[in-house]
Amino acid sequence: MTAIRSTTRQAQRIQLRRRPWGLYLAGLLVVFLAIAAIAPQLLATHDPYALDYPAALQGPSWAHWFGTDESGRDLYSRVVFGAGQSLLIGLGAAGVAIVLALILGSLAALAVKPAAVVVDRFVEVMFAFPALLLALLLIAIAGPSALTEIFAVGLGTAPGYARMIRGQILAAKNSGYVEAATALGHSSARIVWAHILPNALRPLVAVFALSVGQSIVWSSSLSFLGLGVAPPSSEWGALLDAGRGYIIQASWLEVIPGLVIVAVALAATTIGRHLQAHLEKGEK
């Protein structure tokens, strides 16, 4: 067992020593998106709202890199201008998910016995609802909007992370250094703050990166269903929703924004995994 595990570790180390081209690509994409979010006019080639009916539904070309939509608006510029809102929703949802998961996960692992059991069961109950369904339930109550979308996606994905955090904290709680600290007579508050939480929560940085990618995918799914941000906006999911009627005549209206979302999600996953590998290496 241990021999095999050490060989896989070695294999991983070899992989890490190779130039991480995937990571560079992901980083490049993140920089590009950050610029698009802060100053979209620097990257856009057209006014994202300029109507140009003669140029409607044109395929990708030198003039319009991603083609044009039914009103002749430039899709590339719309994607660039939509980046801000899409990323904000993704980051916001990931933030909501992690905060909720942190509260629930640490209560389930650290609270006094009956309370911990109740919280633990509650997390298990929430986990029985698939993320998308939990999100839809919240939207049905609060009505569709960008803010609801953030909370819906955050709430939907939180139970999975809560379970993970609980596991991490329990593992830290049962470790040798906590036993040592207890033997030294440190107060339990001090042990939690100084030993358990820092060790259990270190992987959270990586989890957050992974969660941003996932949140962007989930929130664009909601917009695609017409239950998130509505079409006049150029948020990426809304672009997908708007292009649905033109799949046959103008497939790029669906394919390209979808590809952008997939690329961003992959970039977030890649960065998250490298962070995770880095953190695990640092532990030894």
């Binding site: 109950v125 839809l136 339930l137 049905a140 993970m164 269903l225 979808g258």
Partner: protein
């Protein structure tokens, strides 16, 4: 837990991580034969109780979600029904209050709701005046068919892909693992559209929309199956490569068994265990993924009912479908757990 498996679990928000942690509990040496039966019964009983507790919790969440709708409920129901937003007179509200039991205290309503669920009554739709079970019942078959077909496709794709690529040269291995990760992250709406463009519009192998029967089922099922396959492949691959180094594989090879034979007859059986434990999760994820897929392919099913109900805030229908999916999830998990308890020789007494 190997780093690889924990990564893959996190990236898709799955239960694998916690499951692997659970499986690492210390192995107790096998207990005496006589007490084994007692232990099995006890374990199954405990699992049954905990499943019931989870279901009760889910029903409670569902009930209070319906209360969370802002404003007076009877007014909300009437307005949803007429598609208006206005004040109502007491005379208008009285029959609605009576019909939905709103004049009782909340605790009585809660009790009635739970009692209803036990006998299969999910309440009455705000919009359609009909029982929720009737509305769901009409559409459930199509969605369950889609979901089960997708799981079947996912298993076939996953087994073929992992058997072909796991534990080969380093190039093939990393290609295999890369495809797993990329494919698992593909959003259903995008994959569905690509499949639609390539196979229905480009090659014309399948109908574009609708298409009853088998032909109309394949593309939607593939849309759900491909990410699921990638996802299951991540945990299967780790086990597969671990099993390839086990003594029983060496001994099988020494008996002269071919590489393919070893992979199919010995390694695969060990490697697929984590994917089997994901069955409950897979059912839940394909049922919720069906919402998007049904929307792309204009298929009937509970997904389209759900989207319409969310739009019109028809909460009993929304809550009914959400609860039903949770019930499926808990039931399948319970079955997997029970099967495990029966099979596993090192039953833990803790």
């Amino acid at each position: 837990m190997t780093p690889i498996s924990s990564n893959s679990a996190v990236s898709s928000g799955s239960p694998v991580a916690t499951r692997l942690v659970l499986e690492q509990a210390p192995k107790v040496p096998s207990v005496r034969r006589t007490s084994r039966l007692r232990l099995v019964v006890l374990t199954i009983g405990r699992k049954l109780i905990s499943a019931v507790v989870v279901l009760w919790g889910a029903a409670t969440v569902a009930f209070f979600a319906q209360l969370a709708l802002p404003g007076d409920r009877a007014t909300v129901i009437l307005n949803i029904r007429d598609g208006q937003a206005q004040q109502r007179t007491a005379a208008e509200l009285a029959p609605i209050r009576a019909e939905y039991g709103l004049n009782h205290p909340v605790l009585v309503q809660y009790w009635d709701y739970l009692r209803g669920l036990v006998v299969g009554d999910f309440g009455t739709s705000y919009q359609q005046f009909r029982p929720v079970t009737a509305i769901i019942g009409e559409q459930l078959g199509a969605t369950v068919t889609l979901s089960l077909t997708a799981i079947l496709f996912a298993w076939v794709l996953m087994v073929v892909w992992v058997t072909l690529t796991a534990g080969r040269g380093s190039r093939v291995r990393s290609l295999g693992a890369l495809v797993d990760v990329v494919v698992a992250g593909l959003p259903a709406y995008w994959l569905g559209i690509i499949l639609l463009l390539v196979f229905a519009l480009g090659l014309r192998w399948f109908p574009v929309i609708g298409g009853t029967g088998l032909n109309g089922l394949i593309l939607p099922a593939l849309t759900l199956a491909i990410p699921l396959a990638g996802f299951m492949a991540q945990s299967t691959r780790v086990e597969f490569e671990r099993a390839l180094d086990q003594p029983f594989v060496v001994s099988a090879r020494m008996r002269g068994m071919s590489d393919t034979g070893v992979r199919l007859r010995h390694v695969l059986r060990h490697a697929t265990i984590p994917a089997v434990t994901l069955s409950g999760w897979a059912l839940g994820s394909t049922l919720s993924g069906a919402i998007i897929v049904e929307s792309i392919f204009s298929r009937p099913g509970i997904g389209s009912v759900l989207v319409a109900a969310v739009n019109s805030q028809d909460l009993p229908v929304v809550v009914g479908i959400v609860t039903l999916v949770a019930v499926f999830y808990v039931a399948v998990n319970l079955l997997v757990d029970i099967a495990y308890t029966l099979i596993d020789p090192r039953l833990k007494s803790s």
